[in-house]
Amino acid sequence: ANEAQVEVHSMAVDCTVTSRFAHTVMTSVALNKANSSQEISFDVELPKTAFITNFSMEIEGEVYVGQVKEKEKAKKQYEKAVSSGQTAGLVKASGRKMEKFSVSVNIAAESNVTFVLTYEELLQRKLGRYEILTRVKPKLPVQEFHIVANIYEPQGIAFVDVHANFLSNDLLPLVEKTVTAQKAHISFSPTMEQQRKCPGCDGTQIDGDFVINYDVERAQTLGDIQIVNGYFVHFFAPSDLPRVPKNVVFVIDRSGSMSGNKMQQTREALQAILTDLHEEDHFALVPFDDKILSWKESLYKATKENVADALVYVQNIHANGLTNINDAVMKGINMLHSDREHKRIPERSFDMIILLTDGMPNTGESNIARIQENVKSALGGKTSLFCLGFGNDVDYSFLDVMSSQNRGLARRIFEASDATLQLQGFYEEVASPLLSELDLRYPDSAVDALTTNHFSQLFNGSEIVVAGRLTDNNLDNFMVDVFGQGFENDFKVQGEAKAVDWNALYPEEDYIFGDFTERLWAYLTIQQLLDKSKIGAADEKANATAEALEMALRYSFVTPLTSMVVTKPDSRDDPLIADKLTEEQRQREEKMAIRAQAYQYRPIQSQSYLHQSTPVYFVDGD
């Protein structure tokens, strides 16, 4: 609140990664130097892929701990808090990758407060690396500041890179990095003087993202299997597989709302993507508005001549008209199916449709449920659909569900100067399929509560993770089989998994959070159940939701189904609530923020009209 009256003693970020599972604790200790009580706030940011697991405040010797509860139950308390005028929500979206957790509390004169926030996430491998992202924004230099990360990877560490957008030449040498075969230690702890923008200044130069990237060794084709305390996890990402040729139809929205930057960025991205196509790939372009066009009536091999021709075509895609998603996707599907039927594309090749759109369907079939049904039924589980939602006007959940129903995934493309790179980046992730129809099998008698073990594809640079519970706690090894379809041949690999002796691997460590495999399994299971709760039959959705809720409560994860209730000492009856935002909620928040900016002159009285459901058409005079 009053910066001159608050002394931040310490701010610490401690991250422990054990086999991709990251456990981060953010701690801050502050002193109210004023001779009267005042509000002190704790604002931190955490990755949107993480689940908060714990939060506590220690004030005058008493510790106030957040409790994870079922969202509906927490909401009742929340509503009470809102009705009494409190701002109860603690978590807000923050940029593309993060969400902000903020809490403030009244501290007596000359008293300390200690805030501790803990969150966990399974790091995802993208483009051949994992990323640990920490955002730090202390307003003032802090007496004790540190970011420490310890990475334990029994599989072996291939490389570790550290960078931060606030690291000046002065600060760079302060980043310590020690990498051994299976452990990496990174620390950054500038003194108060080193934090200052200039000698004697109040401001701090520590403000931004601290990013650690690393990858692991991949010596075994079978992947790496770890057995710890009755749970196992299997990481599968073989390093030496040839890529499978792909047949890709780019279905590109060129409706009126794409005009300007979005269309230009799409053209630029397509130029780069088409140039990067492998010669054995086949491709087609289907730009659409209310009219469905196509570069050619079937897919063509990505020869230099064809790519050159397509590049010219792409330059002439201009925005105009309305949005007919249904017919455009259908056109793409029909082209793929017809080419398959007439054997114009290789038998062993991977079919995909990449749909890019920035808006809701508003002509042709505009009922999104019917579009989803049509697309699902036409694709018939054979082709992957990837959807890119450009900007904030698109209904992300529509694309998310449609992709999930069709072996693909959805991604948001944020309207910004780097949208071209975002589009290219997404394409790179899916550009090189290595295997399709993958099955990872484990002895039925030895495991249960298995996470998804069938995957429609594996892309170069990504990783498949399967975890499960062992039915026999004393089991030290078991057989693992992996089947898939690769380039030219089927892929089959079999091996025996053995429990790693963690004490032998890391003899100097007293304790590496011992239940990490179980928590990793729980995190992965909850994520997959949450995905399942969006698609499928009503009873399947309800079961998945109930199971995810039960696990989130058991493992104390703040998920979209649970909330953390935080009781402040000065408002026991009005608790605060920390929620997990879904991508749709984030998008809604961003949209509202953008609208508030663009139409900030919009008079407040108009609010009442925004909520009415019956349209009114009228004519009147001023």
Partner: protein, 239 residues
């Protein structure tokens, strides 16, 4: 007069003005299937204001429901209803209600008339009373369609054509001539229009001051948004 088309599904509204010579009668709603017709006549100010801008307003509406045999003539002076073979005259200065088999009317003194035509449409007409000695302005009326879902898909007219959903996209928000009213490009009915973010007033809750409704304003008498031109909706008589 200013027209507002509210689109609650999109949290948005469209608006445009239609002006013509005082005395012109416009068709607002025609539904050949149910036999409903709403026409309105405009008047101008008492004299040309100093800024030279001639403002026009609706001062009289003629409403016909052929199937029900009902006819309403509503002006700033009085309200006449033809029902069951006879004319009934109501005054704006009274609070009154009529509940017939096919037509329901509710007059709120010097303020509004709510009309419900059985199984077809419900609307409100607002009376804007101006100081009698005002040098320029006169009394005028507003017409608000509250429920039109029973009308047929062939309904047309300056308002009626919008009783069906309309598809449009707005993009390329950019500074306009007035800082607080940005311009944008609207794609609608296969056309590309320059529109301006602004607001128009809804007087239902506050007949004196109105409440602002933010909307995309379509210039030139709604050209591009409405089917055809505004002059296509000019009719020769009120009924």
């Amino acid at each position: 007069p200013h027209f507002i088309i509210e689109l609650p599904d999109r949290n948005d509204s469209l608006c445009f003005n239609i002006n013509d010579k005082p005395g012109t009668i416009f068709n607002l709603v025609t539904d050949p299937t149910t036999g409903i017709l709403v026409n309105g006549q405009i008047i101008g100010d008492k004299k040309i204001p100093p800024d030279g801008k001639i403002n026009t307003y609706f001062w009289r509406f003629g409403i016909v429901h052929q199937t029900l045999g009902a006819r309403l003539d509503i002006s700033t002076k009085d309200i006449s209803v033809f029902q069951d073979g006879e004319w009934v005259r109501l005054l704006w200065s009274d609070t009154a209600s009529i509940k017939g088999a096919n037509v329901e009317l509710l007059v709120t003194k010097d303020r509004s008339l709510t009309v419900t035509l059985k199984d077809s449409v419900k609307f409100v007409i607002l009376l804007h009373k101006v100081w009698a000695n005002h040098p320029y302005h006169r009394d005028y009326l507003g017409f608000y369609t509250l429920d039109s879902h029973l009308l047929s898909s062939s309904t047309h007219g300056l308002l009626g054509q919008f009783y069906r959903p309309i598809d449009y996209e707005v993009t390329d928000l950019r500074p306009g001539a007035v800082p607080e009213k940005p311009d944008a490009t609207m794609y609608v009915k296969g056309r590309e229009l320059t529109v301006t973010r602004g607001w128009q007033r809804d007087f239902r809750r506050d007949v004196k001051n109105g409440e602002d409704v933010p909307c995309w304003f379509i210039h030139n008498n709604g050209t591009g948004l409405i089917d055809g031109e505004a002059t296509d909706y000019v009719v020769s008589g009120l009924f």
